[in-house]
Symmetry: none
Subunit: 225 residues, 2 copies
DNA sequence: GCGGCGAATCAAGAAATCATCAACACCGGC
DNA sequence: GCCGGTGTTGATGATTTCTTGATTCGCCGC
């Protein structure tokens, strides 16, 4: 349960999403314009903000920048379909995650949980622990059962991201966007290869998984062994 | 843990940061304006001050100068995003460190710990020891396994900074800002060269590291051998 | 059980990053 | 003005890391 704020100009969508999230047990507030939303967000300080792109009165990046000047509240951006490029630009502007419209409300809800989980876990000094796996942001070191891993940058980023989203299935496209930060570039097989390497270093294989579980047709998720 | 004082005019941020630090076990006091803050800091003499830039009633540098006239308390400046220039000006005005807004509270907490560590160790003779490496702030001397090193000023500053942040990966850009104190200036390769020299004097090389470990694509970190 | 398709792995070329050498610029003291 | 010591920039070679292609493997539905 969390306090969620939604900025969305379309009344219909706003109603739908708000109802859905309320049914899921969240406390929901909404605004129809960027300026209104910004004002209320600062005043109410909700736990997470869902921000629609393409608002009439202000660009998403502008709003984000203004918001970031005064608050570090997690922001999930809702972007028009498949416009990866702008979504990634937004991530760089300080958004925490994004969903592609039209999105299922449950999908959004999963993101909200993930973002909140992330926020809380990082309170523990920047180190994440799951099962015997430990990932440390500051030193960029990771270990399994106390044994340090020798990871390349991408491998570490990949592992970190999956660990932050532990238990949640992540698609390869999403990994390309969030870990690789390249809107158009790479094929999804790049992700496969890196996952393979990561598995090898984690002492597991796809056939004999321990942490990295393949979800056929969807993606991967990092789980407790 | 520590007594932290926060001067920040935005009520929202103030609340967020204060709560976060309190949760981390600190004793937190706050003020909303420079004049108020200054008065209280002098009266309470906390262990560390977190100072927001862009206060309405006084410029950050002015406040710092006034404060420094009466107190040696460590100061961490919070600056608007990427405004390296002003942050560095502040460092020269007597600030001890800075964070870029929006910052994660854990990040700030890490800085607080670092500043306090610095403060305490300098009380204890100002010497940092890691592995066989010893760095003395007061006399600006360093040694490895008891053998003194002949370091140039920049080399010493570099080593000192890395030692203070031992175990943490530091980017070259960060080193440029904090050790070189140049906002935009130098290229990152300057850092490479100095690192190379430092390594040579430490009796190691990039291929055969002992203290200075390269983290490809990110930066360097100083580790226990 | 068979065919189709996504996934995993291996291998090799491409790209990015880094380390080091060497030459040059700067600064203050003499 | 000259000089030693320092810091910066350029060039180059080496290393690490990333991407892509080809192939095999394994899951899933029929």
């Amino acid at each position: 349960m969390a306090r969620v704020f939604i900025i969305e100009d379309d009344a219909e969508i706003r109603r739908l999403v708000a109802n859905g999230l309320a049914r899921a047990g969240h406390d929901v507030e909404t605004a129809a314009s960027a300026l209104d939303g910004l004002r209320q967000v600062v005043a109410d300080s909700p736990d997470v903000l869902v921000l629609d792109l393409g608002l009439p009165d202000m660009g998403g990046d502008e709003l984000l920048r203004m918001l970031r000047a005064v608050s570090q509240i997690p922001v999930i951006v809702a972007t028009a379909q498949d416009d990866d490029a702008s979504a990634i630009a937004l991530l760089d502007s300080g958004a925490d995650d994004y969903v592609v419209k039209p999105y299922a409300v449950e999908h959004l809800e999963a993101r909200i949980r993930a973002v909140l989980r992330r926020g809380h876990s990082s309170d523990a000094g920047g180190r994440l622990e799951i099962g015997g796996l430990s990932v440390d942001r500051a030193s960029r070191e990771a270990s399994v059962d106390g044994v340090a891993l020798e990871l390349t940058p991408k491998e570490f980023d990949l592992l970190l991201f999956l660990t932050e989203r532990a238990g949640e299935v992540v698609t390869k496209r999403e990994l390309l966007a969030q870990v690789w930060r390249e809107p158009y570039g790479g094929s999804e097989r790049t992700v496969d290869v890196h996952l393979s390497w990561l598995r090898k270093k984690l002492g597991e294989s796809a056939a004999e998984p321990r942490y990295l579980r393949t979800v056929h047709g969807v993606g991967v998720k990092l789980v407790e062994p």
